[in-house]
């Protein structure tokens, strides 16, 4: 049992508030009135039960904790702290995530704008699955799934780290809990609230190469029973070559009211505007292939907690308006609702029930040719459950099932099973198998880009993994072997006018990924993550191997905290087409981030100038063939927080 503090103070139970620098430790706690259970798994520290002393205490202890983002302890996950994302030198949030994990691959084409349209980047691949566009990976933000209704993928430029508290990357997917698109993986984003009365403001302004300006302002407040947050982020750049520029503006507001200690309600809205251009390959530039997209993500949430019960109801609505240079104009809508009841049946058993429904709709028109493809709406409803058992100490067994009924496909049964055993002395084992799926997108069903097939069926994946982890105070080692089997994959063949799209064949991907992190070695912390996989014949933008490393040195001098972070990525076995065609050169790039964080406790002020030196070796490389990445470029900025 951990010792209690010597005097009254708030105990942050997990890595909140930016103090935890993005480890794989997945920490969380349920806030309960009498006792506190801290569970950190899949690369974390220790399991401990901390209870207040039996007798009267002269001190008041207020425990501040958060509900864990992770609902299934047997999943292989990577947790990245929001502060880590805000400090990272990479140009976008998804690229930051790829930096932390060997089996997460994200493509890029420039200085921060991934874009929309035919050659957009930012697609995520997790253990060989992702799709093109990445509709096999689901992004969930504050319990609301986020994907574009027509093309079925998230918009990478819509995720900025200003308000992010943590991101959990669930590898191997989990359609049992999250439904469609959670086929290869799930990126769960949780935004932060202020944990104590008062307010905080943070501004971040930066200027850099290619006329790049990046600015954000975020504010969090807590007054009485009200919690508020707002953030505005803007990135504008001319890009590293003609036509590679653009702008990305994201505005988020959220309000939460605690009706009673056990009941709270919140509303959240995010507006994104991204515009820019597809510059084309360097061999055939296209400086006039512009795009312009507006998106709105709105959600509400009611949370009721009482003793062993937690009820969460989350309705959401995602809408978007997309325009492309070629006359494409679309409206899309994804609306749904989930209701989850989490019951603590026993100290050794948890049961989660869920009810979900979702509808996808949209309209598409070509304003130049006046074509109006017929796009039909689609709805589905699901009933799902997850049973967590702890038959013996330090052992978790998870069983889950989901029955989805679709207006197009009828019944879609899904299931999963997993186990996790803490062996003691920092060692743990975990294993899981999960049946996941992805419904065809409206684009694949109805739109001639280049061809459609309204008879397409869902894709399925049976993902399994087995891994081990060792964690000590200064060292963390984890390794996982995985198998991804996908069938009914939707593939395009040929070129217009002879192209076709069908469900075809299946693929089996075997892989192994590992991570070694050494922390607190004096001023140094080091992390190396790698992945090696056999992707079979679907090699397009599906690398054979990847290694990422982070070396960080921190030195505190009085009120100053000086930090230097060296990051690097090596990607091997990239192809621009399937069947091993159009091989590309390996990617290798290194970035350097320097910062000086000055903190004045008396004035409640932080000032942090920083300098990002990207690709400081000035290497020529590309993730997408002939879309050369920027050479050496810099971004210098200043953060001020009060």
């Amino acid at each position: 049992m951990a010792p209690l503090p010597a005097r009254a103070q708030e105990l942050p139970v997990d890595g909140g508030g930016g103090t935890d620098a993005g480890t794989t430790a997945d920490a969380g706690a349920d806030t309960v009135s009498d006792s506190l259970s801290v569970g950190i798994d899949a690369g974390g520290l220790v399991d401990a039960d901390i209870s207040p002393p039996a007798g009267p205490s002269p001190y008041d202890v207020v425990v501040v904790g958060r509900r864990p983002t992770k609902k299934d302890r047997t999943e292989d996950t990577t947790r990245v702290d929001g502060q880590r994302l805000r400090d990272n030198a990479r140009a976008s949030t998804f690229e930051d995530l790829a930096q932390e994990d060997g089996d997460v691959y994200v493509s890029s084409r420039g200085a921060g704008i991934h874009g929309i349209g035919n050659m957009a980047t930012g697609g995520i691949r997790i253990r060989g699955l992702g799709g093109s566009p990445n509709s096999q990976i689901l992004v969930v933000e504050d319990d609301a799934p986020d994907y574009q209704g027509i093309f079925g993928h998230p918009i990478p430029d819509a995720y900025v780290p200003a308000l992010i508290d943590e991101v959990l990357v669930i590898k191997g997917g989990d359609s049992t809990l999250y439904g469609t698109n959670a086929m290869g993986g799930v990126v769960v984003i949780r935004n932060r609230w202020r944990g104590e009365d008062g307010y905080e403001l943070l501004s971040d302004a930066a200027l850099g190469s290619y006329q790049t300006t990046r600015a954000s302002v975020s504010a969090l407040g807590r007054i009485g029973n009200w919690d508020m947050e707002a953030a505005l982020s803007d990135l504008t750049t001319d890009g590293q070559r003609p036509g590679a520029g653009g702008s990305d503006t994201v505005a988020t507001t959220a309000l939460r009211y605690r009706l009673t200690p056990t009941l709270r309600i919140s509303v959240r809205n995010k507006v994104t505007h991204v515009d820019g251009n597809d510059p084309g390959p360097v061999t055939t530039p296209t400086p006039d292939h512009w795009f312009d997209a507006w998106r709105d993500n709105a959600s509400a949430q009611l949370v009721y907690t009482q003793d062993a019960i937690r009820l969460t109801i989350t309705p959401y609505l995602n809408t978007g308006i997309h325009r492309l240079y070629d006359g494409f104009y679309s409206h899309d809508y994804v609306a749904g609702s989930t209701a989850e009841l989490d019951l603590r049946l026993h100290s050794q058993a948890n049961l989660l029930f869920g009810l979900a429904s979702e509808g996808v709709a949209g309209t598409v028109v070509n304003r130049i040719t006046e074509d109006h493809p017929d796009v039909r709406d689609h709805i589905d409803g699901s009933l799902y459950s997850q049973l967590t058992l702890r038959p013996i100490a330090r052992t978790d067994l998870v069983l889950g099932a989901r029955e989805l009924y679709s207006s197009r496909y009828g019944s879609v049964p899904l299931y999963k099973a997993g186990a996790r055993v803490d062996l003691g002395w920092g060692f743990s084992l975990h294993s899981r198998v999960s049946q996941n799926f992805r419904q065809p997108t409206m684009s694949e069903l109805y739109l001639p880009y280049p061809v459609a097939n309204p008879d397409l069926k869902p894709e399925y994946a049976l993902n399994s993994d087995l891994g081990a982890t060792f964690v000590s105070e200064h060292l963390e080692i984890s390794g996982t072997g995985y198998r991804t089997e996908a069938r009914n994959l939707i593939k395009y063949f040929g070129q217009w006018p002879a192209a076709e799209v069908i469900n075809i064949d299946h693929v089996v991907i075997w892989g192994v990924e590992g991570r070694v992190a050494a922390k607190g070695l004096g001023p140094l912390s080091v992390m190396v993550a790698g992945d090696r996989q056999t992707v079979g014949r679907y090699t397009k933008q599906n690398p054979d191997g990847k290694v990422d490393f982070i070396v960080e040195a921190v030195r505190n001098i009085g009120a100053h905290s000086l930090a230097g972070t060296l990051t690097g990525e090596w990607v091997h076995g990239l192809y621009m087409a399937d069947y091993g065609r159009q091989p590309m050169a390996d990617v290798f790039v290194m970035d350097l981030a320097l910062r000086d964080r000055y903190t004045s406790v008396e004035r409640r002020l932080t000032v942090e100038p920083y300098l990002l030196l990207r690709n400081f070796l000035d290497r020529r490389y590309a993730y997408v063939q002939n879309y050369l990445m920027p050479g050496f470029n810099v971004l210098a900025g200043l953060k001020v927080g009060i």
Binding site: S107, I116, G117, N118, M119, A120, T121, G123, S132, P133, I150, F151, H153, L207, G208, S209, Y210, T212, D238, Q240, R241, P242, P279, G280, P281, V282, T283, T284, P285, T286, P287, S443, L447, Y449, P450, Y492, Q495, Q541, M576, A577, D596, R603, L605, P609, L611, R620, V624, N626, L628, G631, F632, N633, V634, L635, A636, L638, I642
Partner: protein
């Protein structure tokens, strides 16, 4: 809220500001991109349209002897890509096919598309067509350089680098 700036603090802020200025100055590194000019030195009847090199494209038509304005392109290697229209070849073909009234082969030869000719009239094409070509040789430029690349008849080949759809629709 007042922030007092003593001598020590002032020197720290000056150091930080200086570092930011240096970084900002180097932020204009794209200004050091090489400048490239493309010149049409093929033949008097050949037009070159939309030449491009390593990320630069000039939306223009170059007559024989004409050149583009200097464009800032990425440093590195690439062929010069362009579209060409050979007016001489076009006119010869139209004369041979008899598509324009009053224009016939100079030697009085048979007009192939005539009713008693041997060529299917469906094969006759009066639409001027621009074909994708590139230089055979690879050009190289580095930071800070100024280069003029010429397109010549003996240094061109067909360009099949047509990008296929990749990501999103």
């Amino acid at each position: 809220m007042r922030i007092c700036v003593g001598p020590h603090r002032l020197s720290w802020w000056l150091t930080v500001a200086g570092a930011c200025l240096i970084a900002t100055a180097t932020a204009g590194c794209d200004l050091e991109y090489p400048e490239v000019v493309v010149e049409n030195q093929t033949k008097s009847q050949m037009l070159v349209r939309n030449p491009s090199f390593n990320g630069c494209i000039w939306s223009t038509v170059l007559a024989y002897g004409a050149a583009t304005s200097p464009g800032r392109c990425l440093p590195g290697d690439d062929h010069v890509h362009f579209q060409k229209f050979d007016a001489e070849e076009y006119c010869q073909q139209q004369a041979s096919d008899g598509t324009f009234p009053g224009i016939c082969p100079c030697d009085g030869g048979v007009i192939e598309s005539a009713a008693n000719g041997s060529v299917d009239s469906g094969l006759v094409n009066t639409v001027p067509t621009w074909f994708n070509y590139q230089t055979i040789s690879t050009k190289h430029v580095d930071y800070g350089e100024f280069r003029i690349f010429t397109i010549r008849l003996d240094d061109m080949e067909q360009d099949f680098s047509v990008p296929s759809p990749y990501g999103h629709g």
